[in-house]
């Protein structure tokens, strides 16, 4: 990976990481979008979409309620998409890309907590000016938060890719498990999380189980 490519991936990760909370929450940070774009930028849109769909199944569990800490999927999915598209293709590619994305998402969640504390400090430091109704203070705090979030996402993406790309490449080269089993383990785990998420979100809705069952029958009919 050249420095130019790394900068491009970092810029994409920054913009998509920014979407998670700060601006504009249009959900281009969702894995199915972010990983696909990451894969496209790395030259393999199909691999990006594949890992994006896998991560999307896992991300169904994440409900970004207020102050809760949750994985940061935007930058992480770019990392996953790039890992899936860019490294040597092999039996463990999808597994390693998903693992890399999950690791990045976890660290990304922590960086978001740090950013929120930094925002709080800026808000505290400007309290006298904001209480005096100074326009520059209010807008300054807002812009500083957005800029810091962009930098956070860019650094996270760049550091994750710099650290994980050689590891993933080495792991693919020494991968000792059959491709079918590798793929089955990843998709099995993702679907398990998705099933748990669907239950968590919809179990309290009257009749939801019947609707789910009807959908399941339709899917079986399509696949048969």
């Amino acid at each position: 990976m050249t420095p130019g490519e790394l900068i491009a991936f970092a810029a994409l990760g920054g913009v998509l990481g920014l979407d998670v909370v700060s601006f504009p929450q249009a959900m281009w940070s969702r894995p199915i979008v972010a990983a696909t774009l990451g894969g496209a930028l790395a030259g393999d849109v199909a691999s990006g979409l594949l890992i994006g769909a896998t991560l999307e199944l896992i991300a169904l569990e994440t409900l970004p309620f207020g102050a809760s800490r949750y994985p940061e999927w935007g930058s992480a999915s770019v990392v996953g998409g790039v890992l899936a598209a860019g490294q040597a293709q092999g039996a463990g590619t999808l597994t390693l890309a998903v693992l890399g994305a999950l690791a990045t998402a976890s660290v990304g969640g922590w960086t978001m907590v740090m950013l929120r504390r930094l925002n709080a400090r800026w808000a505290r430091n400007t309290l006298p000016a904001r209480e005096a109704g100074e326009r520059g203070a209010v807008i300054g705090v807002q812009m500083a938060g957005i800029a810091a979030d962009l930098v956070r996402g860019m650094l996270l993406t760049a550091l994750a890719l710099a650290a994980l790309t050689p590891i993933a490449r080495a792991a693919v080269a020494t991968w000792g498990v059959d491709a079918r089993l590798s793929r089955a383990v990843v998709v099995g785990l993702a679907l398990t999380v998705a099933l748990g998420a669907v239950w968590k979100i919809f179990h309290s809705t009257r009749g939801a189980l019947w609707f789910f069952g009807a959908g399941l029958l339709l899917a079986v009919a399509v696949l048969a």
Binding site: E56, L60, V177, L217, A219
Partner: protein, 264 residues
């Protein structure tokens, strides 16, 4: 600058004339960055002040005037709401400020707005519209739709709802001012979450198997085992509800699997 006080009634009880187009555009675009300075102390507070600010410029004295400064200070304090439904608050707060209602009334109104705008938005968007659109994108993916189609479907559908909700919120907030509580009784907010949840459950029933079938690829030979494992795992996760996060468990299991795969 246009003095909109000429166009505004003295209280929030009568429908106002429109804000200048430039102000409306500024309010709407700023809403997209309302969480830019989100933090654990004042939460969305600074964002509300940031979003309302273009409207406050229309107060007598303009930018930097005494009324502008007092209103901006008031609007930049602690606030909590769902980021999309905060548009209702921004519209209503802009209205009551430009109506120049007494500060203590505005502060009480502002406090009262927080709770409902958070819980309604969470159920409607985070636990309804977002999973629905996400699952629909997985259906499209599972049916073999290409990357462009999947992305256009997801982003187009999601943001049609997202942007419409913000625009509607800003409009009803501005129109109703102090009486904006009536807007929260609209059928979309009252019954929408339940209908969307049912639709999403239906789409989940279709989407999960189709996505599984497409992703698993060469692993189809092991489909039976995967389905049994998923059924057991899903049941366990449901039983663990609230005590464990599925993605963390998946992370741990996957890390162990990678170690075994590399060590073999």
């Amino acid at each position: 600058m246009t003095d909109v006080r000429e166009t505004l009634p003295p209280t929030g009880s009568v429908a106002p004339r429109a804000l200048p187009l430039r102000t409306r555009i500024a309010l709407f675009t700023r809403l997209l960055a309302i969480q830019g300075a989100w933090n654990y102390e004042i939460l969305l507070g600074n964002g509300i002040g940031y979003c309302v600010e273009p409207a406050l410029r229309l107060l007598p004295g303009g930018v930097g005037g005494r009324r502008y400064r007092q209103a901006l200070a008031r609007q930049s304090r602690y606030f909590n709401a769902h980021p999309y439904l905060a548009a209702i608050a921004v519209g209503a707060l802009a209205r009551v400020e430009l109506d120049e209602l007494p500060p203590n009334r505005i502060e009480r109104f502002r406090t009262a707005l927080c709770g409902p705008l958070g819980s309604v938005g969470d159920r409607l968007v985070w636990a309804g519209w977002l999973p629905f659109c996400s699952l629909l994108a997985l259906v499209a993916f599972g049916m073999g739709v290409g990357a462009t189609g999947v992305l256009l479907l997801f982003l187009g559908l999601y943001n049609a709802g997202h942007l419409a909700l913000r625009a509607w919120g800003l409009r009803v907030g501005w129109r109703h001012g102090m009486n904006v509580a009536t807007a929260l009784g609209t059928p979309v907010l009252r019954y929408g979450p339940e209908h969307i949840a049912r639709a999403a459950a239906f789409v989940a029933g279709i989407g999960l198997p189709l996505a599984l079938y497409r992703i698993i690829g060469p692993g189809r030979a092991l489909l039976g085992g995967v389905l049994v494992a998923v059924a057991i795992g899903g049941f366990v996760l449901a039983r663990l509800h609230g005590r464990a996060e599925g993605w963390r468990i998946a992370f741990g299991v996957l890390a162990a699997f990678v170690l075994v795969s590399v060590a073999r």
